[in-house]
Structure formats: C-alpha cells, structure tokens
C-alpha cells in the first residue's frame, strides 16, 4: 500500500505540471489580456503595448511559463496583474470558505442520501421508493442558481431575514458562521445528495440480488441486520467514488452558491481571475484545483482497500 501511495504521489507531479501547462497556454491563447483589460477601451495601442511589456506579457510563452514555474518552486506564486498583491494570499483566504462549504455540503448530502437511497432500495417499487426517486430527480433537475435564489427570496420575503453576507470564520463567531453556511450547504448538499441517493439505491439493489445476501437471510439474520452489515457496506464502494469527486469539485469552488450567498470562495476567485485575465491568479487556483482533485482521487482509491478487503494494491 505504501509503495502504491508513493507511486501515485510521484505520478501526481507530471499530472499537475501538464495541467498547468495546458491552462497557461489556453489562457494566453484567449483573445485579450490583462494589459488591455487594465486600461480599458479608452487606451491607445501603444499604451497597451507599454503595459504589456511592464507586466512581462511581451516575452515568449515558454519564457513566461518558466519564470512562473521557477517562482512556484521557490514559493513565489506571483502577484496579481490587477491588484499587484501576492496571489497566494488571496487563495489562502478563499480556501477555508470553500473547504467549509464542501465539507458541510458533502455531510448534508451523505446524511440525506444514505437513508433515502437505502429506503428506496429496500422498498423498491413502493410509494417510498417513488418519493425518494422524485426527490432525487428534482435535485438533479433544479439548477443550483434557481434553488439558491429561491432560498434567498423565501427567507427574505417570508422571514424578512437573510444569512449575514460575507464570511466570518468558525473560530471567530461560530453562530454567525453557522448562519452563513447552513443554507448554502443545504443547496450544495441537496444537489450532491440527489446524485448519491440514486447511486446508493442502484448499488444497493445490485448487492441485494447477490447470493451472499440470500445466504445471510437463510441463516436467520434480520432484514435490517442484513442490509446494514452485509449489503450496505458492499454497496458503498461506488458511492465513495462519488463522494470523492464531489469533495474535489466542491473544494474547487461551488461558483453558483458562492455567488448567490456572497461567500468569497475559490470558485468566485477563479471566475473573476479568468474574466480579468489575471494569469497569475488563474495559475495558482488551477494548481490548487489539480492538487485537490488528484489527492481526493488518491484518498478514495486508498479507502477502497479499507472498506473492501478484496481490493489490494500490492
């Protein structure tokens, strides 16, 4: 297992480098750059060229990449073209917000999906199954921006109340932090729970058809015990994959929910950086996302072996 993890960690390096090279090239291939955006449409061509030189954007692409990569190796991730502030500082501020939202969202999703998916699978083709599938289908069909906006409008119009805007860390003011994250977590979690509910249901239905379940039943075990101890544990392997990808995706930023609930997370930071052609900011966020996605996949793979003794990596 240790060797496997070490090998995966080594492979992670070229993966991340490849991602940064692709994004670096694509960003520069897009028309318009930080210089023209910074001084707007009222500037002359000469002024834009001068600023491009000032920002180092007139250098060959490979030279710009190596300057950036050399900086990263020494811990210097660069400064924002727009604000002239170190990009790592802004990312550091955004990560806790996205991490908390991701964690709260996934916990909500798991808390909803496990019982709902199990109930649906164990009550197949009954009212409870139809209801669970309807809830899941709605979660998949309603876009986050619609659900988020409805939640905000509902709270404002019915209760004349909204969660405090912005972000207060949990350790500074737990109550305000809770108010800020409950509703975004519900919105994010509901969508994820829809996916997971369907996965739990279908996976559990598969497992419940297996011979060892029949064997367990014939041994006289109660139905809940069979489901809990024999079926659910085996059914969770594909669900874990889903949880892993959801955590990775949400840590990279739930852009819509962050926007609607005014949370200054990674997603908002990234979108803003792309539209402003803030190259250094885009690169550092992409680096972070690549690491998060790769590591979350690795953790899921390792957890397979923990949950299912049949899985081995030696």
């Amino acid at each position: 297992m240790t060797k496997y993890i070490a090998r995966r960690l080594v492979l992670l390096v070229p993966t991340v480098i490849l991602v940064t090279v692709i994004v670096f090239t694509l960003m520069r291939a897009m028309p318009g750059d930080a210089a023209s955006l910074q001084i707007g449409d009222s500037a002359s061509r000469d002024q834009i060229e001068t600023l491009r030189a000032q920002l180092g954007l007139d250098r060959p692409l490979y030279a710009q990449y190596f300057v950036w990569a050399a900086g990263v190796l020494t811990g210097d991730f660069g400064k924002s073209h727009r604000t002239q502030q170190p990009v790592i500082d802004e990312l550091k501020n955004a990560i806790p917000v996205s991490a908390e939202l991701a964690l709260a969202g996934v916990l909500t999703a798991v808390a909803v999906a496990l019982p709902l998916g199990t109930l649906a699978a164990t009550n197949r083709a009954r009212h409870i199954d139809y209801a669970a599938r309807l809830v899941a289908l709605a979660g998949l069909s309603i876009p986050s921006f619609v659900l988020g906006t409805l939640v905000v409008l509902f709270l404002a119009l019915w209760f004349g109340w909204l969660p405090p805007t912005g972000y207060v860390p949990l350790y500074v003011d737990p109550l305000t932090n809770l108010q800020q994250f409950v509703f975004p977590a519900l919105v994010v979690g509901y969508r994820s729970s829809a996916l997971m509910t369907r996965m739990v249901r279908s996976s559990l239905l598969d497992v419940l058809q297996q011979d060892y379940i029949r064997t367990a039943m014939s041994k006289g075990l109660s139905w809940p015990t069979v489901v809990r101890r024999h079926a659910l544990r085996n059914a969770l392997i594909p669900v874990m994959t889903l949880i892993g990808t959801q955590v990775g995706a949400l840590l990279s930023g739930a852009v819509v929910s962050e926007t609607i609930f005014s949370l200054p997370g990674v997603g908002r930071l990234f979108i803003q950086a792309v539209t402003q052609r803030d190259y250094a900011m885009v690169q550092v966020v992409i680096l972070f996302i690549a690491l998060v996605v790769s590591l979350s996949n690795l953790i899921v793979d390792v957890l397979y072996a923990v949950v299912d003794p049949r899985v081995g990596y030696e």
């Binding site: 028309p31 001068t50 604000t83 906006t149 119009l157 805007t165 912005g166 609607i260 200054p264």
Partner: protein, 556 residues
C-alpha cells in the same frame, strides 16, 4: 459636467456658493413639505417627458440624528483603492468617502467648492485656487493627521499626469504647463492655452487629493486609503466587505452624521435586493423590474436619476461600408430608440444625442432630438428614407456584422432589439458576441464593422466630444476624421465664456448627428431604493454616491 455659473469668468467662493444653495435648499424644503404624505412611487420614464433627469422623492426637513451605520452593496471588489489609476465605480464607492477632490459636483452636476474654497482666473491661461483652511488628513500613520496643503494638490495632479499607461486620466490635465503651490493655501495653474474643460476635470470624481507620504510608504495608493474625507478606512476583506468609521476631525462641521459606512460585496442582484428587504442594506441600486417589485412597500423609497453615461453603436468609419455617411445615416434612422428604452431598460432610459441626457446643461433637449431623423415618432418615414439611402450607397445586399460584448446582458439585449429593427427594414445584420477582454483589442485594431458599447460615467462635454471624435484623440475608436469638426472641437476647448462654448457644443452636436460616426441610442437612468429611515440622502450619479453619505443620517 455642467459648468454652469461660468466658473471661468466669475470668482466663486465657498461662502457665496453656500449662500446660493441655502436659497435653493429653502425652496427644496418648502417643496418637500408640500409633497409630504405622497405615496412614494418609482418614477419610471415611460416617454420623453416623463423622465426628468432627476425625479426625486421629496424628503421632509428634520433635525439630523447622529449615529448608525450606512450599509450599501457592490457587485464585486474594487481592483484597488488607487484613485488616480482606477476608473471603476467600485473603486469610487470604496474610496469616495475617504478623500476629497479639488472641486466638487452637486447632485445635478454643477461645480462647487470642495478643497478649493474659491478660485480666480487673472488671465485666460492662469487659474489660482485658494484652498480651504483647517483641512486635515486622517489621523493614521504615516500621515498622522497633518494639515492638507497646496503642495498635496500639486502632488496629486502631477501624479494623475504620470506618463505610465495605468494612469488613464492624464489627458485631463495635459494642457497644464505648470502647477505650483504659491503658498500653503494657494495653487497656481499655468495653462499652455485657454482650456475651458479644466474646472470640469478638477471636479472629476477621480481628481482626488491624497497625501504623498502614504503613496511613498506603500509604493502606490493601491492598498492604502488615507484622505481628508468624512470617513476613515477601517478594514477591507476581499469578497466580503469594506468598512469605514466616521472621521471625528472632518472639516465640514457636525458631519458626517453616521458613525460608520460599510460596503458589502454581494455579486448576485437578487441577493442584494433580498438583503435590502431583510434590512441588511440601507441603499441599493435596483433594476427597473426590482424597483417595480418594491412599489407600494412603505418601507422603501425609490428614486430615479438620469446618469452621465449613454449607450451607443459605433461605426468603423475607416472602411466600407460605414465609411459612407449614407450607410451610417440609414442605420441611425432605422433605430427605434424609444422601443429599445422600453424593451431593454423597462422605460428607465431616454433617447440620447452625442452628449448623454444626464448632462442637462449640455445635452440636446428631448424636444430638439425628436425633430431629427431617427428620433421622430414616425418610424415608417424614417425607414423609407433609410432604405433609399442604403440603395443609393449600393449596400442593400451587404451582410453587416454587429459585435457586442458580454457578460453585460444589456449589450446583448440592445443588439438583439437593434437587429430586429434593422432586419424589419430589410437590412441584413449578423450578431457576434465577444468576451469584453477580447472585444477591447478587436475594437482598438478597428476590426469591427459596427459595435455596441456603453460609455462609463462622463461628467464633461469634452469627454463626449473631443475625446471621441477629434482626429488625434487616442480614444477615437471609430477612426472618424473631419477637419471642420476638429476645428470646432478645439474652439470649444478654448472658449471660456459659457454662452459661447454652449453654442459651439450645440453646433458640434448637430453636425455630429448629421455625420453619424455613432448612433447614440439612450442615456440610462439609475434607480435606487433606500430604506425609509435613511434621511438626507440625495440620489446622484453613480460615482458620487459615497459623497452623499456625509449628509446622510439614519432615523432610528
């Protein structure tokens, strides 16, 4: 910016101005008392005459109360705090209350004293500004509450003219030959030639006086905001909020009334409106639909103010087909501005000429505009004439490309309505959308045929005319060249008497409307909703909002 009152030929002092405004103020209070008890309604501009430049809800006079926090929201973070580099309203909303500018602007865009208490012009190329006495910077290191002097004004104006690309507004003062601090309270400006727009530019919202040592300590003013204004910077958290506290030593006595001012970053418009409803915000810019949804709710007051900006369609006059004035005219005549105002802006907009209708002192009146082809009520006659012009130019089978940029939905909507209007007249128009970052170089390199764009806030006729249509101006995107227009533009800059300059500006507008380098479509109106306990606040043009907070108080 309105330069009425002829700032060049009359000596104006703060005392005199205050005397004048006191009379106006008494009138306003009387009008307000008469208007008391009227139900507040969103003054939606449904036709030319209904939309006055400022349609404000009367406020009853009452003794201002001290205390409380003024809370507003913005859709994104200011890129930086540097007033001499940035041009966005976001920066202005962040630092507008921190600083003072050399001259001020009233809510109806008239020049008033601010840091300069009075001024005189001994000759057409000399301006002498006398500064307010007793103005101090905030008591924050490294400035530590020292007195603001004429040297600070000189340093700030010189910094605005720094020859680096990021200093975008150095054109405002490029006619200054020399600026000196004659003594601690006097600034003398020597001009290269008579330059009428100077006072307008001195009152520009970004002509802000900052302390040199603050910029030196941090390298620039991007991350530091220490001024002489009513509010002192307290904290700023990107993506969250920016906070200011009352400046206890503010030079305008007894003000500001509020203890603090907070700018919350709320990117989503629906969330901002919900925050206003949930009493988390006190004042908010709303769309016309949102304004209508608040109609009848006594918790809010809604006002509508014409802005100093406009939406235009630019034609590339350097190449076919729009190098032919007949084609430009044909397109201009087909545009139904009232329909665009209604369909895209819900009626909260006015047909515009070359100068935005928000600049009432300089813009063509709605009655004047209505006499012109393209603005007339009889669109059938306009369309028939347009078809003839296009036929005469031999362009009836040409496929025209209209480029607009996103993500601003307004540009897309205007483009779609314009396309429908043009196609109804038989013109073939293809729409192409671009990201703003891509649109800038595309436009600068004059690759476009026609393109829709909105101008930001401009408070000076010079910015609408000379900047956009003089053949040597770097901001002349259409490539329009006309020696006669050039001469008139130069003349308008040299005329120091308002009546003469106004006549030239009026002539210029008429000629430009005949030449059609742009189709000027509409001037937008800003709709603002505020909680009913917010008093003393007068809605104004976008960049001036934080300056209103000095007189704003909360009736709690």
């Amino acid at each position: 910016m309105s330069e009425s009152g002829n700032v060049w030929t009359h000596r104006i002092s703060r005392r005199r101005w205050l005397g004048g405004t006191a009379v106006v103020g008494l009138g306003a209070v009387s009008a307000a008392l008469i208007g008391c008890g009227k139900k507040s309604e969103a003054p939606v501009a449904s036709d030319n005459k209904a939309a006055a430049p400022a349609a404000l809800t009367p406020q009853a006079a009452a003794k201002p109360k001290n205390g409380g926090e003024i809370r507003i929201a913005v859709d994104g973070d200011p890129v930086s705090y540097d007033p001499h580099i940035e041009a966005s309203y976001r920066t202005q909303w962040a630092i507008g209350g921190v600083y003072n500018r050399v001259l001020g602007l009233t809510t109806d865009l008239k020049i008033t004293p601010e840091l300069a208490a009075s001024w005189e012009t001994p000759d057409p190329t000399t301006v002498v500004l006398k500064m307010q006495q007793g103005v101090k910077f905030h008591n924050v290191a490294p400035v530590n509450g020292r007195a603001l002097t004429a040297e600070d004004v000189v340093w700030s104006i010189n910094r605005i003219t720094t020859n680096k690309p990021e200093f975008q507004r150095r054109y405002m003062f490029d006619q200054i030959d020399k600026i000196t601090a004659t003594d601690a309270n006097t600034v003398t400006i020597k001009l290269k030639q008579p330059f009428a727009p100077l006072f307008g530019y001195l009152a520009n919202p970004f002509t802000i006086v900052a302390p040199k040592e603050a910029a030196e300590a941090k390298g620039d003013l991007r991350t530091v905001a220490i001024g002489s204004g009513p509010f002192v910077f307290k904290s700023g958290q990107k993506g969250v909020s920016y906070k200011w506290d009352k400046n206890p030593g503010y030079w305008e006595k007894e003000m500001p009334y509020a203890d603090s001012y907070t700018l919350n970053v709320v990117p989503d418009a629906a969330t901002r409106l919900s925050s206003l409803r949930a009493k988390q915000l006190d004042i908010e810019v709303v769309t016309i639909d949102q304004a209508n949804s608040l109609k009848g709710d006594n918790n809010f007051t809604i006002d509508s103010v014409a802005q100093g900006n406009s939406f235009t369609i630019r034609y590339n006059t350097t190449r076919a087909p729009f190098n032919d004035v007949r084609v430009r005219k044909a397109f201009d005549m087909v545009m139904d501005r009232k329909q665009i105002a209604q369909l895209v802006f819900g009626g909260a907009a006015l047909p515009a000429g070359p100068i935005s209708p928000g600049l009432t002192a300089w813009a063509m009146s709605q009655d004047e505009l209505a006499k012109n082809a393209g603005y007339r009520a009889d669109k059938a006659a306009d369309i028939a004439e347009a078809k003839k012009l296009l036929e005469a130019a031999g362009q009836t089978s040409t496929q025209f490309e209209y480029v607009y940029y996103i993500p601003d939905i307004v540009h897309e909507q205007v483009a779609q309505v314009a396309q429908q209007q043009l196609e109804k007249a038989g013109f073939k128009v293809k729409l192409t959308k671009m990201e703003y970052a891509a649109w800038i170089p595309f436009t600068l390199e004059k690759k476009f045929m026609m393109t829709g764009t909105g101008s930001g806030f401009r408070d000076n006729p010079d910015e609408y005319l000379y900047a956009l249509f003089h053949s040597t101006s770097s901001r002349n995107d259409t490539g329009y060249k006309n020696p006669e227009i050039d001469k008139l533009l130069e003349l308008s800059r040299s005329q120091l008497k308002d009546e003469e300059r106004k006549a030239t500006v009026a002539d210029l507008q008429k000629r430009l409307m005949n030449e059609v380098p742009n189709s000027w479509i509409i001037g937008q109106t800003l709709n603002e909703a505020r909680a009913s306990n917010v008093k003393g606040y007068v809605p104004t043009y976008t960049h001036n909002r934080p300056r209103q907070f000095v007189r704003t108080w909360l009736d709690k």
